[in-house]
Symmetry: none
Subunit: 140 residues, 4 copies
């Protein structure tokens, strides 16, 4: 199965609803397909203007590496020069922290979600809720 735009819209709506339920700061949410390409994005009012690039960087690194944000963060803390080098080969587009969440359909990665605006842990929690609402399993 591949992600459709309707899936992406559901993920964004449910991520945002979770953010409101948790009383998080304004969120920005991007959904990328299995090739790392942008399907849909929304930035909530009062979020800082540059949030697209952060959300995108969280999701892009996840899908390109096949490694969710939490694993990327662990690697960055253990071996910083490696993640810096990885970032170099991806044109500086990777933000290796929680909030970059892989979308699984069974054992297949079909995309990634990037969320930014609150703490990285809260961002990831909201993304997981969004992915579940679309019937998939998130790996944060």
């Amino acid at each position: 199965m591949t992600l459709t735009l309707d899936h992406a819209r559901t993920i964004i709506a449910a991520t945002r609803a979770k953010g409101r339920e948790m009383e998080l700061k304004p969120l920005s949410v991007v959904v990328l397909d299995a090739g790392g390409h942008v399907m849909a994005f929304e930035r909530e009012d009062r979020a800082a203007p540059g949030r697209f690039a952060i959300a995108h960087g969280k999701a892009y690194g996840a899908v390109m590496l096949g490694m969710a944000g939490r694993a990327q963060m662990a690697r960055a803390e253990a071996q910083g020069y490696f993640m810096a080098a990885v970032n170099g080969v991806y044109g500086g587009q990777v933000v290796p922290v929680p909030g970059g969440v892989l979308v699984h359909d069974g054992d297949q990665v079909i995309g990634a979600v990037g969320v930014t605006g609150d703490t990285s842990d809260h961002d990831a929690e909201a993304a997981l809720a969004g992915i579940a609402a679309a019937g998939f399993v998130g790996e944060e």
Copy 2:
């Protein structure tokens, strides 16, 4: 007035509806704020994966230069090296053709919409319908 996310969502929904009414190919639609920053984006199913960058480039050039896509195209045809140079100073992010449409609130530019997927003229026509649906005036 500044564009809100609700405005951006209305613009995207109405642009897509216009595309379906006109039986256009799958559209990708981005809305940027007055500073050229991404507010919302949707790429319809079956559109090519790289459409975000094209939609963004149409809207980004419009808002950064304060010049809609049709005027940019005229300038590019009359003085190609100038638009190439302008693109350079904006990091290669400008796509100077119709489908980059300014959003006016009275005499103020409050953002831009970028549409790609069908012919440039059809892309622009769909964007104008989307902007009108949100209560603003588009300049293509």
Copy 3:
């Protein structure tokens, strides 16, 4: 409210006056709007030639992230790879130290000021005085 050029000129003049009163080294001062775009800049005589990029980097990161220089510095010290990655997604344009000061009008961020030339703490103090002179509240 949005910043006008007159506001920006007032901020720069008052920041420079504060610098002279504190007997700081020659200052360079930039004012960015809410979208991170340059409104005005002045570099005092005898400042090093490359000061525009430093002043810009302090202010640009602040407005794009919605996070003032002091908070960026704390994050960089706690989680260096994160701020390095953030810098990557913004094209290497972020300088995460004091002297990048947000301009608030009530609870809204309407721009940022970047000051460089003396110690980061002194740079920030001068910026705060400049912002206050224009009737706004700075967050350093």
Copy 4:
């Protein structure tokens, strides 16, 4: 003689005054020193947000090449690939049209002014007036 910040401020003020006298669209004006580094900049209200990069590109090419905007434009029209290549070696920062004006003190180039906002010819005319007001001779 080298340009001082007071010179730069005089040039900007007089360029803007000329623009108002000629009833031009809102102008953006940058002054670079003999090394191509930004000394001062102002963007008038209602100018498009991306005008710094255009003004800078006009002045930067002039001072780096020692060739004013009008001569650059002639070269671009006669030998487009050459100016494209020149732009490449300067990091894509050159905008080769009138409005990039060299500042001469006798036979020495001491800086450049970049103006954008109206037609290129009008931009250059305003810059010449600004340079004259500071007691120097402009070469457009």
